[in-house]
């Protein structure tokens, strides 16, 4: 082959692929501003800025290591902020500390809650971010990719004047959604953080810049009980595919309504997973992604509507295959079997949920033909396979 042949052939890839990439680019950017405002955790950023201030003179290895397990039956956030003695990291000057509070989740996602406590007198800069290496965020025994997000739930001031930020990191299966064969709970896993950065020229022309290069590694066991509930349907629902705005330049056209046979819906306080099938000829993943993903939510019994969101890292809401006993996505019946997982911004009480909303279609939970409790893995300690280098500074860094 000549290189020119390859370049010419690559240039001539399909119009659909070229356009999809363009649309994805603008779509992601469209989300960024909103999500950044909502999700970028000021508390974590402030913590890190403080760490920066402490270490500005001579950057040091800030590695730390958390070894903790949890066995709580968490149903709501209030149940989770009750572990005040779990101090995961405290720097030597006592200006900042991280208090691990708990973990909860379902088969697809886990949320790790912690408080960031900043001592009085620390100047709090505005826009910082924690550079989590999401591509390396994985289960030690499995190369399955995970998406992630981070956020702050509440800011309070302690009696001594310390700023306390209730924060979380969410980790989510991103390469596949296969709750029947894999469950996030009770798994050992680790996160690697690659440093601290900041934004400038925000929001008009935001640019990232490196604030502090360092390395943080955290390993822990996701020893929680899957608290999701599965609603079995096996019913057809007609779902419209409205136009979606990628930005002021790119507006899609509306698609034809499609009929989804919804087999099962798994609902937890942090997200929803839909399992459905549709005729092969109706499959347009990109449009489905937008129709289902961008216009969905839950309706509570008091009438309020809580929107679901895509993962800010994108992969969570990708339409993934769940062929079950079939090979790949295509079932023996010629239909396409798919699943999609969406998350809530905050933890909700699923007892308050009356129905689910996809586009303009309402799915009443009462219409389910049966209800199944989540898969409950056996709890217990799992040996954590800590990667090389992780935890080396644990003994010296942690003062409690």
């Amino acid at each position: 082959m000549k290189r020119e042949n390859f370049e010419k052939a690559f240039e001539n890839i399909s119009d659909k692929t070229v356009t999809e990439a363009v649309l994805s680019r603008d779509k992601k950017r469209g989300r960024r501003g909103v999500l950044a405002k909502i999700l970028i955790p000021a508390a974590i950023l402030l913590l890190l800025s403080t760490v920066l201030a402490v270490n500005a003179a001579s950057p040091v290895d800030l590695s730390f290591y958390i070894s903790a397990s949890f066995s709580g039956d968490y149903t709501m956030l209030s149940d989770m902020v009750s572990m005040p003695d779990k101090v995961a990291y405290r720097n030597s000057g006592d200006e900042v500390r991280l208090e691990l509070k708990g973990v909860m989740g379902d088969s697809v996602s886990a949320v790790i809650y912690f408080d960031v406590v900043v001592s009085p007198g620390i100047e709090i800069p505005e826009r910082w971010y924690l550079d989590i290496d999401y591509d390396e965020l994985c289960l030690p025994w499995n190369s399955m990719g995970l998406g992630g997000s981070q956020g702050t739930l509440e800011h309070t001031v302690d009696a001594d004047g310390s700023n306390r930020f209730k924060s979380y990191v969410r980790v989510t299966q991103s390469d596949a959604i296969m709750p029947d064969s894999f469950n996030m709970s009770n798994q050992a896993f680790y996160i690697t953080l690659n440093g601290i950065g900041g934004w400038k020229n925000y929001p008009d022309n935001p640019e990232r810049f490196t604030v502090l290069e360092g390395k943080w590694s955290m390993a822990l066991q996701l020893n929680y009980r899957d608290i999701s509930t599965a609603y079995i349907f096996g019913k057809d629902y007609i779902v419209s595919q409205p136009e979606f705005v990628t930005d002021e330049m790119l507006v899609s056209e509306a698609g034809e309504p499609i009929t989804l046979n919804i087999n099962r819906i798994s609902l937890s306080p942090i997200g929803i997973t839909y399992y459905f099938s549709l005729p092969q000829e109706d499959v347009d993943e990109f449009r489905l992604f937008n129709s289902i993903g961008d216009v969905s939510g839950v309706k509570l019994k008091d009438g309020r509507i809580i929107a679901t969101r895509h993962s800010i890292f994108g992969d969570i809401a990708e339409l993934n295959s769940n062929g079950g006993s079939t090979s790949g996505r295509r079932g023996d019946d010629g239909r396409q079997y798919m699943s999609v997982n969406l998350r809530f911004e905050d933890v909700i009480d699923i007892a308050d949920v009356e129905s689910l909303l996809i586009s303009d279609t309402e799915i009443k939970l009462g219409d389910a033909v049966s209800v199944e409790k989540a898969y409950l893995p056996e709890s217990g300690e799992t040996e954590i396979a800590v990667p090389d280098g992780v935890g080396e500074s644990f003994e010296t860094d942690v003062t409690e």
Binding site: M1, K2, R3, N5, F6, E7, K8, A9, F10, E11, N12, I13, S14, D15, K16, T17, V18, T19, E20, A21, V22, S24, R25, D26, K28, R29, R32, L35, D131, I132, D133, Y134, D135, E136, S174, D175, N194, P206, R208, M249, L250, E253, E285, F286, F289, I312, F313, G314, D315, E318, L319, N320
Partner: protein, 182 residues
């Protein structure tokens, strides 16, 4: 205004068609051209040349989808501009992203059916998850920087690099399986 209406404007030889394209896609086209040429000035010229090309080609062409058609023209013109600048040593040693992709392939100099190869590449891309496909195309077709991709997809730059590395390897394997000795 939808693309069909813009085509109609071209067909009636109304310059409004060019205004509509600039209004609808202008920022996007400037970004693509700038990603390839690395220069605002060159990018602006490439966009203008693209508009001129559209004016000449439509009609008789009636491209559908219009956006992909425009981007192909713009990409070609921008790459030509980049190559020209390289020949004049005005690019300070910069390379196109496609060069990064070509580095993992072995070229023996034999002629290859480009249409067949293009179909094989399309099948490879179709086999990827959409996130990976978009990542790959944004890097190697749209010539987007790792930094911008990381920013847009909320990934770290190292994560983007690692994923691209894996995808390049996958593509090489796919081409070899399909009978192309690369």
């Amino acid at each position: 205004m939808d693309d069909n209406e813009i085509i109609s404007l071209f067909n009636s030889r109304s310059e409004e068609a060019l205004h509509e394209i600039t209004h609808k896609y202008g920022r996007l086209l400037s970004k693509l051209a700038r990603d390839i040429t690395g220069s605002d000035e060159d990018a602006a010229e490439c966009v203008n040349d693209t508009l001129l090309a559209l004016w000449k080609c439509i009609p008789p062409e009636a491209p559908d989808p219009l956006l992909a058609y425009i981007m192909r023209i713009l990409r070609n013109l921008s790459i030509k501009r980049f190559r020209s600048n390289s020949a004049q040593k005005r690019n300070a040693g910069e390379v196109l992203c496609i060069d990064e992709l070509c580095e993992v392939l072995t070229f023996d100099g034999d002629e290859t059916d480009e249409n067949l190869l293009s179909a094989v590449i399309d099948r490879f891309l179709a086999s990827l998850k959409s996130a990976d496909r978009n990542l790959f195309v944004r890097r190697y077709w749209h010539n987007e920087s790792v930094r911008d991709i990381a920013f847009g997809m909320k990934m770290s730059e190292s994560a983007v690099k690692v994923r691209l590395y894996r995808l390049r390897g996958k593509m090489k394997t796919h081409l070899n399986k399909e009978g192309f000795n690369v």
